[in-house]
């Protein structure tokens, strides 16, 4: 709550929503946000701004005519070069290693891109990535559950007073997805319910919050960093299921949840 601490937190909160923090730093931010309403509301304001900038502002892709014009200019610039090369065959020898060099750097770039994909916490523009990052963060020891209970009648009331909405809670134990517990979490700039289910050694996070249409989520599935996710809307709530469970079984979990 103290102002110096908050001041110091501001750039960290921003870096967190820009996906620039490692999990340990992000956890530190999350801890601060839990205890500081001012910073938490700042975070949600900044998240909302971020979402609006990305969704509402025009993206000025280059017009087709510009693509064509640039290609034409480049082709014409390259022409005299080609003629010089034709006259001076020794240039070929100089150029061959450079070709290899470009290939090498191209490969290096691709590798760097892959590493970035694997290592970097997802950007703010990547909401699925943010949800998956949240799931991964929760998997750290002691973070996955605030309340450990397989009883939906324990879990549901536990949320009462902790959230401004009542998340639906279901146990799917008889179908092979046992409710293991629940916790409070922060996503999309608001507190959300996270139900934790277990399938063999795999944990499934099911994030739930009221659907206000603010993020414009469309039903979809996908994967990030080795984790599968499926999200949908149902009964005025947004649901995100995230797990290292294979896509097929996660799909089964979602179907059971939707039907149950």
């Amino acid at each position: 709550m103290n102002d110096d601490r908050c001041q110091e937190m501001h750039l960290l909160i921003q870096a967190d929503l820009d996906g620039e923090l490692d999990p340990a730093e992000a956890a530190r931010v999350a801890e601060h946000l839990e205890h500081c309403a001012a910073c938490a509301s700042l975070q949600s304001e900044m998240l909302a701004l971020s979402a609006r900038l990305r969704e509402e502002l025009p993206y000025y892709a280059a017009p087709h005519t510009l693509h064509a014009a640039v290609r034409a200019r480049i082709a014409s610039e390259a022409q005299p070069e080609a003629q010089r090369g034709a006259r001076r065959s020794w240039v070929d020898h100089l150029r061959r290693p450079r070709l290899a060099e470009f290939g090498y750097f191209g490969g290096g770039f691709a590798l760097a891109a892959c590493l970035a994909w694997l290592l970097v916490i997802p950007r703010a523009g990547d909401f699925p990535g943010a949800v998956v990052a949240d799931h991964i963060r929760a998997l750290q020891p002691g973070h996955i559950m605030d309340v450990a209970s397989s009883d939906q009648h324990t879990v549901k009331p536990w949320f009462g007073g902790r959230l401004d909405f009542t998340p639906p809670v279901k146990d799917l134990k008889s179908q092979g997805f046992a409710l293991a517990g629940a916790r409070l979490d922060y996503l999309a700039g608001r507190p959300v319910a996270a139900l934790v289910y277990q399938r063999r050694q795999h944990l499934i996070d099911l994030f739930i919050w009221p659907d206000q249409g603010s993020i414009g989520l469309r039903p979809a599935d996908g994967h990030r960093r080795g984790y599968n996710f499926i999200h949908w809307s149902q009964g005025g709530m947004v649901f995100w299921a995230v797990s290292d469970l294979n896509a097929q079984e996660l799909g089964e979990f979602v179907r059971l949840w939707q039907a149950g």
Partner: protein, 183 residues
């Protein structure tokens, strides 16, 4: 054989750099705030990039190209602000100029017609009214999805500067577009 080798550089250039032409144009468009000028900047940047390409030694090609785009855009803005008789009157890069502090009138671009909702227009105007150095931060981060490191490369400043500019930009928008933010 010779034909392949002599055409190798432009081919590599096309493969590496041209996929980022949309990003280049988007950045140019947000920086110079004029559709015709943005196309000129993009084209000039592509040509400059072609000339500098032999000195490109790997690394993030998008950041490398965007840096050139940015430099060309700033050159255009500087030459424009030095010449008051030009028809572009939207404030230029003029961070200190009074234009940067006022909300510019919506231009009559066809794109502007797409910004139907009032909130969207407010947000658009607030971003356009930001000093170019803050505006480009938000464009690179939010619209292009660049990391801080890539942004530092594009803008040629330390990451700490990126963080504080982003912060200032966001706080300015949160204050400036407050009417639209809490709908």
């Amino acid at each position: 054989m010779r034909r392949v080798v002599t055409r190798a550089d432009p081919l590599s250039f096309e493969q590496l750099v041209l996929p980022h032409l949309n990003s280049a144009h988007n950045l140019a468009r947000w920086l110079v705030k004029d559709s015709t000028l943005a196309e000129d900047v993009t084209q000039e940047a592509a040509l400059r990039a072609l000339r500098y390409f032999p000195s490109y030694h790997g690394g993030n090609v998008r950041a490398w190209f965007m840096r050139i785009v940015r430099n060309v855009a700033y050159d255009f803005l500087a030459s424009r602000s030095g010449n008051p008789e030009t028809s572009f009157n939207e404030g230029g890069s003029g961070e200190e100029g009074p234009q940067a502090l006022s909300v510019p009138a919506p231009d009559d671009d066809p794109e502007a017609a797409l910004l139907h909702s009032e909130g969207v227009q407010l947000l658009d105007r607030a971003l356009r009214a930001l000093p170019a150095e803050l505006r480009e931060c938000l464009v690179l981060r939010e619209l292009e999805g660049l990391s801080y490191k890539e942004m530092a490369e594009v803008m040629g400043v330390p990451i700490g500067t990126i963080m504080s500019r982003l912060w200032r930009a966001r706080q300015a928008l949160l204050g400036r577009s407050a009417e639209g933010m809490h709908s």
